[in-house]
Amino acid sequence: MYPSLTIPVPDFLDSIPVEHRKDPHALLQILIQIQHAYHHVPKEAAKRLAEEMGVPLVRVQGLLSFYSFLSPEPQGDYVIHFSDNITDQMLGNRGLAAHLCQRLGVKLGETRKDGRVSVHFTSCTGMCDQGPAALVNYLPVTNLDQERIERIADLVNAQIPLQDWPPEFFTVKSQIRRSDVVFRKPIEPGEGIRASLERGGAFLAEWAEDLAPSDARKHHLERGGAETLKEIYRSELRGRGGAGFKTGIKWESVRDAKSSDHYVLCNADEGEPGTFKDRVLLTDYADMVFEGMTICGHAVGSKTGILYLRQEYWYMKEHLEKVLSRRREAGLLGKGILGTALDFDIELHFGAGAYICGMETAMIKSIEGRRGIPRRRWPLPVHQGYLRCPTVVNNVETFAAATVISAKGGAWFAHNGTGQSTGTKLFCVSGDCERPGIYEYPWGVSVHEVLRDCGALDAQGVQVGGPSGTMINTREFDRSACFEDLVGTGTLMIFGPQRDMFEAVKNFALFFQHESCGLCTPCRVGTTLLANYVRKFEKGCGSPVDLKEMQNISGLMKTMAHCGLGQTANHHITESIEKFPAIWKGRMKTTEFIPAFDLDGALEEARNLTGRTDPEAHLAPDHAPMEA
């Protein structure tokens, strides 16, 4: 059924272009290809790649153990990953996964003995508005329910190839519920880059008369780029990935950094649970995203752009490649764009399952074919980024906005929004609401307004900006989404009155523990200790001392962690203690300290060794273990 699974490994490797096979920067991309073909990376493939690339085998293994979607051990013919975001959990994914495992006779996290199927949980797959979702052989399946689970079990048991599964299983809807001035009407392909190039003035105008034709073309190009940069400054555009750095400053720094090569990287890692706007933009507005990268290439003097997509969006590969080749045919990419001296092209790179790769320096390392560990702060990527060259890293939405700014002007763009947050923003709305999906609003919109529009006025709380963002309760619904107040990736996960907010806290704590890269002490150990405390409360063994301890650890992570992940991987703890104190108080049995371990259970080994079974060998009942 999967012909590629039966191709001998050496033949498969031979089919990969040799220059690719010898380039260590391609290591991750090749491992992904192998994973897709064999559903794991066979030892002989790892060994041969290490030899051909001239890298230690230990480095190849390092990647396999770092990225969640790469596996050194064989997986089933069907590999099923259930998305395990809190929004999936609220829609019943846990029960569905358990049911599927039972139907298939496989344990969660394992492969069935006959090698047919493996079932796992994975972090949010970006389908929160149409969950519960899963990936089957790395392709998204949405809107799971009991009926679909039964069908999937039948299809797997009957060994039906994926292409013969009901196509509606794989439908991914864009669900744009509200659009505003920036995205209401897509910019026609070419409109933004043409405007950018035309800012160079009428070609071969008077000023160019004394110059050689090639110099005149170059001069024209640089003038246009400089004028476009001015428009970006005028728009006061700030990065849409969450940090909100001024795009103009970033582009200018890269343009002015001396180097033979400059790079434009588009961050479509979109791992923040609850976020799916990049998925929608790349589906419905891919031209605008690619064009924004091209405009950036024009403004900063770069010839190469790279779109880094999370593995969960592998299904978009074909679509995006089509858009790229259409743009090349239309003269909007490649050599001599629109007949000018501008050369710029775009490659696709994929991640392999690591939230940390959304962090720009981790993403750069991942694109270089390495483990996605955030590197040290200096030098900044604008000076030494990808391959140590000056590099722009912007979010998908930022590039799309740049296209609009180039086409319509910076002043037009800045007209919308608030003082420090110009333009509009895409919000990803999911959870307990009538109309989940994408909403575009000018910056400054209140949470209340979004809740009204999506049909969630009875919400008890909203997680704004994903787990690393802010948790708010009803008293804060008049707060507004903008850089002056609630910053973030534009994600709203809504919790209805029936929900236990503790479940969200637990989901986030386990998520961060799973996604911490392990580089720095505060995050590596801190996320684990926090997750353990949450488990302790879950058992009803919490005490006020533990709450204080969790706040201390959170403060420690905030100040001492190496990167933004560790610094924010505690917000869910501190904010839920402050805003939803009842979920913690209800899980404390006393106001005194209770140990998490089972005192009587710890004596079991001693009882076994001494052969004691009498009551005297047990602790008194009031020391007996607490029911879990």
Partner: protein, 241 residues
């Protein structure tokens, strides 16, 4: 005219290209650290050398020194946080100081003493980690590894061998050995390697020379880690300029 910045109010001269930590050490001001070594590329993973500049935390081992900047280093808050981070290192591994042959020569232990650490404070994790005693001369005890990657960098940058790497992610990340079997005996390690010598804990030790000095005569029985590191740094600067 030489440039200078202020470390807790004291003027510290620096040369172009120096980090805050290097300049401070040159001037005789010790900033606690575990993953930083003067002869290796900085790593900024242990986070002990964190300082506050203009209200924001930075690891001083990677932060370039800049003219006139005010660096807060020995504030009560930072001291407490350094102690807490060290406690995190103790509870995530299995550190049996009383029976460890590195005791008294261990930088983790000496740093803990320097920071006034009296207990481990946080709940112990008691991880199960695999020891590698396969090599006749070098022992790898992962229980004591703090994942500072000193050996990874030293093997690559100083020994030119690439014997070590980190595998896994998060709390489950671990030190891996580059050999066909994954065992030290089949790797290119040698007891003379800087990777072994520079390990700040007892994770990598040379066999058959343990407990060489009795209690009272061990390295950190004689002097604090601050004194030792400052002297070593000064010697190194005198040699390399």
């Amino acid at each position: 005219m030489s440039s200078s910045f202020f470390l807790d109010g004291k003027a510290i001269p620096f040369k172009e290209g120096q980090t805050v930590l290097q300049a401070a050490m040159s001037a005789g001001h010790y900033i606690p650290h575990l993953c930083w070594r003067p002869e290796l590329e900085p790593h900024s993973s242990c986070r002990l050398c964190t300082v506050i500049i203009s209200g924001k935390p930075f690891s001083s081992c990677t932060q370039p020194a800049m003219e006139g900047q005010n660096v807060e280093c020995d504030t009560p808050e930072l001291k407490a946080m350094r102690r807490a981070v060290t406690q995190l290192l103790f509870v995530e591994g299995n550190h049996y100081c009383p029976s460890c042959e590195e005791s008294g020569g261990c930088k983790l232990q000496a740093t803990a003493y320097y920071l006034g650490m009296q207990d481990n404070h946080f709940p112990h994790q008691f991880p199960v980690r695999v020891r590698d005693s396969s090599h006749p001369l070098v022992n790898l005890d992962r229980d004591r590894c703090i994942r500072c990657e000193t050996c990874v960098r030293a093997s690559r940058e100083l020994d030119g061998k690439n014997v070590f790497a980190i595998h896994g992610r998060g709390i489950r990340s671990k030190l891996a050995v580059n050999s066909p079997t994954g065992l030290l005996k089949d790797s290119g390690i040698s007891p003379e390697d800087m990777a072994v010598k520079l390990c700040p804990t007892g994770a990598l030790t040379v066999k058959r020379v343990g407990f060489e000095f009795p209690i009272g005569q061990r390295i950190f029985d004689q002097e604090s880690i601050a004194t030792l590191e400052l002297r070593e740094y000064a010697n190194q600067e005198a040699v390399h300029g």
